[in-house]
Assembly symmetry: C2
Homo-oligomer: 430 residues x 2
């Protein structure tokens, strides 16, 4: 069961942090080979690799309209309605992230600014296998759609019967995504990056996947953009002594049940609360169908830290830079400025983490494994690009020519200086 | 000399696009080995590798205050003043990029939002060797400083005498950067990513470098964030028949002189202008100290495209997705919406590209090699991270509990449903 650890902030993360997956030498070589095959042989390589890895010989990569309509058999009507409500909430939240182009003028008539535009074509990778795919499609596709991305392409691996997961198709259909390909793994990433006869290359690839998908994304990064490489899920609950241990335990379990590598951590100043949470975990875990997974996760990557002061507790939180952080304290908003790194912060006892997973509106694609130090929840900015706008006036060029040429010549780039010089000479004749 | 090509947009890029540098197998292996050495041996590895690659045995990695003050001998006072003016302009432009955290409430009392914060610690890599480093330091450091990054660390390789480039030190000093280490190459990137005894690890690494630096950045991506992998410089000038061919030629040369791999392209609907630009290039290139480089670049990666229509010309521009785009046309602002991809757009005949390189304010670190399709000029957002804020109200939890549980159970995550269920049961007792 989960351990209780009484200590100060030092080394809090050492035992818990998992290293970034960079794969074995063999995995990296395999991914490189797959990419080379797809670059060289296009569709033919995709069919071959799908046969090899997914065990099915396809005769088309396209998912048909019929297959999409059939998928609705697997999702009852009330669930579809609930997902539609979730879509409304997610769209509403992401609409607030939209930003406008801007420009300003100076007294000399120069205009400077930035123009923002959506990416043109984005590929959504959706892994096969698990049930939790529908909300995953919503969370990756909606920010792109809100950004204004016109071409959103989805790829997902076929099962042995040649069909793709119906939940994925329902999600795609609810969002109006029509371009869907039945291909998975590193070969799908290569196809999205470099294009094949059937699949036109994209500008950015987003979505989770196994180690081969992650390595392939890392490999094509630069040719196209990618989102972050996602690691196992994490929750940290920072709790004071007034909190309900049953809520805390339930929230810890909601992450622990994801994956044996998931990490569920409580940090508190109350020894008593720590013991109560531990007891609740023992009790509640028994009710879960996925208790084996949850137990293993709690044992391996779980902990309850008891600190003497709130400052020490906050220090541990900031060291962990958690994907999900719950502030289960009397005045959670007062602590917000002390949190330096967190993917999503849940404030107060009713902000249970699963609220954010599906329904409230914010994105559930969040930085894991300490990467909240430098990255952000998936958001609309991730699907937009900027261009600088420079409209320099004649007056500004004349006034500043000497300075610009001075810097150019200091940097030993005479051609740069000449581009200014020639305007000085020729425009004075105007 | 540069070729004139009369054709439609099809395949315009095929002959010009250079592939993204992914290095040879040997280079990748070398970089991997260097990173492993630094991870295993820390400072000791840095001293060894600096001896091996830079040919100097250092006894400290720290650059002293004395060395910084001495650096001013190499930059005359008027140049320092000009750089100070450039800093003012760059800061002013980047201040406009700053964004605020936001939050909204719904009628049920739920609060949702995003909190924006600067990254805590950023590493700036500055390569050795060329003169054009001072403005490069300004352009990479200022967006970080405007974002509010508190710890900005600079690493740059020592020369054989053990000193680092004085221009880099002057730039750092003008910006108040005090933490400077004398180490370069893949070993510097490894040190910044993983930390050593002397160099504390950072959250993000930015700045240009050779193939080893680029490969190392790609390798540590995920452990830390990185900026884009930069390629050779590019300019595309879109010109109508009214334009001054001398200006166009001068601007093409200002990019061509950078590097034999640089690409300088003019796209025009006027055959006559094309010929005039070609003639101007022949004339002007002779005046340049770096004419050998410029000529080779023009021959290998230069072209003047003559199209029949403006639409075809715009198509070529969008296919190229250039780093720098000059709109040398009568009404440049009218074309802006037709430009889908460009790092920086220079409008009108006085917006010569070097204006943007040093002085106007916008950043000169721009997406190269077609990556303007999906990436942006270096900007303040690159040094900030976001956290989602979710403060769900009791009323919203009660009203939406069924829906949240329905989705959780549909995704076969009973623990997620239980975290909601337990609040329903226990809070109704309140």
């Amino acid at each position: 069961m989960i351990k209780i650890i009484e200590r100060k902030a030092q080394d809090a993360t050492a035992s818990l942090q998992r290293s970034i997956e960079t794969g074995t030498k063999e995995q990296r070589q395999a991914v490189w080979d797959i990419i080379e095959q797809v670059k060289a042989n296009g569709d033919r390589a995709l069919f071959q690799l799908t046969h090899q890895f997914d065990g099915v010989q396809l005769d088309t990569l396209n998912v048909s309209e019929e297959e999409i309509q059939e998928a609705y058999k697997f999702v009852d009507e009330e669930t579809v309605e609930t997902f539609k409500q979730a879509i409304t909430n997610i769209v509403q939240f992401h609409e607030k992230q939209k930003r406008e182009s801007w420009m300003y003028s100076n007294p000399n008539g120069t205009k400077l600014g930035m123009k923002l535009r959506p990416l043109q074509r984005v590929g959504l990778y959706v892994p096969g296998g698990t049930a939790a795919l529908l909300s995953s499609v919503l969370m990756t596709a909606i920010p792109a759609q809100v950004a204004g991305v016109q071409q959103l392409v989805l790829t997902t691996p076929p099962s042995k019967t040649g069909k793709v997961a119906p939940t994925v198709l329902v999600a795609a259909d609810l969002l109006g995504i029509r371009e869907i390909y039945s291909v998975g793994g590193a070969q799908a990433i290569a196809a999205l990056a470099y294009g094949t006869e059937t699949i036109k290359g994209v500008d950015k690839i987003v979505g989770p996947g196994n180690i081969y998908v992650a390595l392939a994304k890392r490999e094509v990064f630069g040719t196209v953009d990618i989102d972050m490489i996602a690691g196992p899920s994490e929750i940290v609950v920072l709790a004071d002594e007034q909190q309900n241990p049953a809520y805390i335990a339930a929230d810890l379990l909601s992450q622990a049940e994801h994956d044996v590598l998931a990490s569920a951590i409580c940090v508190t100043t109350s020894k008593e609360l720590a013991q109560d949470v531990q007891a609740e975990l023992v009790k509640q875990v028994q009710k879960l169908p996925r208790r084996e997974i949850a137990l293993k996760a709690l044992e391996q990557h779980g902990a309850i830290y008891v600190t003497e002061t709130l400052e020490e507790a906050l220090d541990i939180v900031n060291q962990l830079a958690p994907e999900h952080l719950e502030l289960m304290v009397e005045e959670p908003f007062e602590l917000l400025d002390s949190i330096h790194h967190a993917g999503a912060v849940f404030l107060g006892e009713y902000s249970s983490e699963p609220v954010g997973d599906y329904f409230a509106g914010p994105n559930h694609v969040l930085p894991t494994n300490g990467s909240a130090r430098f990255s952000s929840p998936l958001n609309v900015d991730d699907f937009m690009k900027k261009s600088s706008i420079i409209a320099y006036s004649k007056q500004d060029l004349m006034e500043n020519a000497d300075k610009i040429m001075r810097i150019a010549r200091f940097e030993e780039l005479e051609g740069h200086a000449q581009a200014i010089q020639i305007r000085l000479e020729q425009s004075s004749k105007d």
